[in-house]
């Protein structure tokens, strides 16, 4: 989900801060990993009943030139907010940071999050703390992420960096100009399958889903594909019947997709197919044979036999069987190699 907002970044004169102590306000790109967002959402669920919003620390990786920040992990930090003052548990934040760095030495502090879209004086205060020197992210700008968790509305995520603002140094300490920055949610190949399972639970009443076996997952995927083919063919039919507006671009796209079907000789397919199916079946057969053999060997070794001689005999016979199995395996690997070569050729 990339936010469709566009951003225009303007350089502007900085506030009256001592030279060299102001963090840069160069634009940067924020990449958010889903698990970071998930833990923010989880934290927001676990807030105290009287709390409007909760805050926490963002950890992640900053690219070398500082133009991209990846938010990977977050942890919650306790804080109390009243009308005229805010208290953040700094001791806790420090300890937790140390604990996290122990397990994830590569990740660094990159900023903080809050679970409401509102930016107020307290936000500025906290922002200045996180971007400050010493414990903060200085000289890099601290990223502030707001994730709105109001019931009944969309979960809205925004990323900001800040620039100092204010005419005097005292004013500058508790104010900040938040500059929105673009962000995207990105996830890797391995996370995709996890997200898929999580997504499978989204329509269920109980919000729960069991984990699919291979064949179930395949079934689902095939059903999805069939559904899509259905949709496309319905569209094409309605275009032919002149019910839907035609589009050259779509037609071209579909034609390109159809052209992807490989043209191969039936004999080749037949051969490849047979080779591969044999490979698969042989491996499956062997795997199960090995399993049975081992189980048998274990049973014989611990069965209620008289003693020594018999059990010894049983085992040597067993071992012979295994050798046979191994020879079979070697042969199998050869066929496999050969079929691999064929596939390449």
């Amino acid at each position: 989900m990339t936010e469709s907002d566009s951003f225009l970044h303007l350089a502007r004169p900085l506030g009256p801060v001592a030279v060299g102590s102001a963090p840069t306000t160069a634009p940067l790109n924020v990449v958010i990993h889903p698990q970071a967002l998930f833990s923010i959402l989880d934290h927001s669920l676990r807030r105290n009943a009287d709390q409007e919003r909760v805050i926490g620390t963002l950890l992640g990786i900053r690219s070398e030139d500082g133009t991209e920040v990846e938010i990977r992990t977050t942890f919650a930090v306790g804080h109390t907010e009243t009308t005229d003052q805010v208290e953040v548990d700094m001791e806790y934040q420090k300890q937790m940071l140390a604990l996290h760095l122990k397990a994830n030495p590569k990740e660094v502090l990159v900023g903080w999050y809050a679970t409401s879209s509102e930016l107020n004086t307290f936000s500025a205060l906290i922002q200045n703390f996180y971007s400050g020197q010493g414990d903060g992210t200085f000289p890099h700008p601290a990223v502030h992420l707001t994730v709105s968790t109001e019931p009944g509305k969309d979960v809205e995520t925004r990323a900001y960096i800040s620039a100092p603002v204010g005419v005097t140094a005292e004013r500058a300490a508790d104010s900040a100009a938040f500059i929105p920055v673009p962000y995207e949610i990105r996830y890797g190949e391995t996370e995709k399958s996890g997200l898929e399972s999580i997504a499978a639970a989204r329509d269920a009443e109980s919000r729960a889903a069991t984990i699919f076996t291979d064949i179930e997952a395949l079934e689902r995927a095939v059903e999805e594909v069939l559904g899509m083919i259905d949709r496309v063919s319905r569209y094409v039919e309605s275009v032919i019947d002149e019910e839907a507006p035609a589009s050259t671009a779509l037609g071209q796209f579909l034609l390109n997709a159809l052209a992807l079907a490989p043209k191969v000789e039936p004999a080749d397919i037949e051969r490849d197919f047979n080779n591969h199916i044999q490979d698969i079946l042989v491996v499956s057969y062997l795997a199960n044979t090995i399993r049975t053999q081992m189980e048998l060997s274990n049973r014989l070794a611990t069965a209620q036999l008289t003693l020594g001689g018999e059990s010894g005999n049983a085992e040597s016979g067993q071992r012979g069987g295994q050798r046979g199995g191994k020879g079979g395996r070697g042969g199998q690997q050869r066929t496999q190699d050969r079929s691999g070569e064929e596939a390449r050729a």
């Binding site: 919650a76 999580i198 037949e270």
Partner: protein, 365 residues
């Protein structure tokens, strides 16, 4: 503990934990990643609501079995430093209202190779020292990369716990207890559970707000760049449909070969033991016969008899090797073959589908 009577029946994993475990294990891949999980036990359902990784520390191998490759991360859950780390972390988490009960640990695996001593010792440690009601969650990185996430939860059976505590893995003991390789682990069904917020967030992630019907794209380039041709759509994951057979089979064959190798070594050990046992026993009988003959001659000469049970001091019977490794190996092979079976079932259908598609005439007949 009154609720102790209700056995654990299922494991409910929060979406957050799923993502955290996946992230940690794929980052650490191919080495093993381990961490701790926290949650709550609700009437036999173990709800796992948060997790955190363990720091990798160098530690001396304290295992009383020989580890072929001492892997600091794999042994991490029972390292002393990590127990302290875990208590500290849980204390911190309690302050921000996270369910602060340790309910076990997680580990990453590669192609289902997780039935090993490390896992057993870790889980044994957890079930014995920490809390009886703990689980080991195993995330298989390479299986997950193939399409469907592989997350499983295991516990050690009470039978195995009792045997492992006293290290009773000789043939005789196994005969008595009738402990088999199927009885080592108890697998618990895993369910993924979403919070309301995450649910709504995922719904939102899926369909970018489509209030107005979209215009038809003016050109092919516009279509390809458009907002709907995004790579990162969640639900249909077509990795399942890919037809890469050989790498998986090859890897499995390798692993099976290794297992056979292990099994072979173990049977050899056992045979060696039996041979030396037989040798010792024949020596003893020889000695006993000799002593008897001597005593008989002494009796005729009216001399005091020599004791006949001295052989117990003179000869030492060899120690029987533990059968645990063999049992584990068998369990591991079973896991591999199950894995192959499930892969084969999916792949054959895919292959027939491809064949039917490329040779339309064949299927019509």
């Amino acid at each position: 503990m009154a609720e102790k009577e209700i056995p654990l029946t299922a494991v409910k994993v929060d979406a957050l934990v799923v993502m955290k475990i996946i992230k940690h294990s794929s980052q650490a891949f191919p080495t093993t990643a381990t961490g701790s999980i926290v949650g709550m036990d609700v009437d036999g359902d173990l709800e796992i609501t948060n997790s955190f990784p363990f720091p990798v520390v160098e530690m001396p191998a304290e295992s009383h079995f020989d580890n072929t490759a001492p892997n600091p991360a794999a042994a991490a859950p029972r390292a002393k430093a990590n127990v302290a780390y875990q208590t500290e972390m849980i204390r911190m988490l309690r302050e921000v209202n996270v369910d602060a009960n340790n309910v076990g640990w997680y580990t990453s695996a590669n192609m289902g190779n997780f039935f090993n001593m490390n896992v057993i010792e870790n889980q044994f440690f957890y079930q014995k020292e920490m809390n009886e009601r703990t689980v080991a969650v195993v995330h298989d990185v390479s299986r997950s990369a193939q399409g469907s996430v592989s997350l499983r939860a295991f516990r050690l059976s009470s039978k195995f716990m009792a045997a492992f505590k006293e290290n009773k893995f000789t043939s005789e003991e196994l005969q008595k207890s009738n402990l088999r390789h199927q009885d080592i682990f108890v697998e618990l069904p895993v369910e993924i559970h979403n919070s309301h917020l995450i649910n709504s967030f995922i719904h939102q992630l899926q369909c970018p707000n489509q209030s107005s019907p979209t215009d038809l794209p003016p050109s092919l380039a516009a279509l390809e760049k458009g907002p709907f041709v995004k790579e990162n759509v969640l639900a249909p994951n077509y990795d399942n449909l890919s037809l890469s057979i050989d790498p998986f089979l090859e890897k499995n064959c390798d692993l099976l070969l290794d297992s056979i190798e292990t099994h072979h070594t173990e049977t050899n050990n056992f045979q060696y033991y039996q041979r030396s046992l037989a040798r010792e026993q024949s020596k003893i009988t020889a000695w006993q016969a000799k002593r008897k003959a001597e005593n008989a001659s002494r009796a005729t000469l009216k001399q005091p008899l020599l004791p006949e049970d001295e052989w117990q001091r003179l000869f030492k019977l060899p120690q029987e090797p533990s059968r645990l490794e063999t049992m584990l190996n068998t369990r591991q092979v079973e896991q591999y073959s199950r894995q192959v079976d499930s892969f084969v079932s999916a792949t054959t259908s895919k292959m027939f589908a491809v064949k039917g598609n490329l040779l339309p005439g064949e299927t019509a007949k």
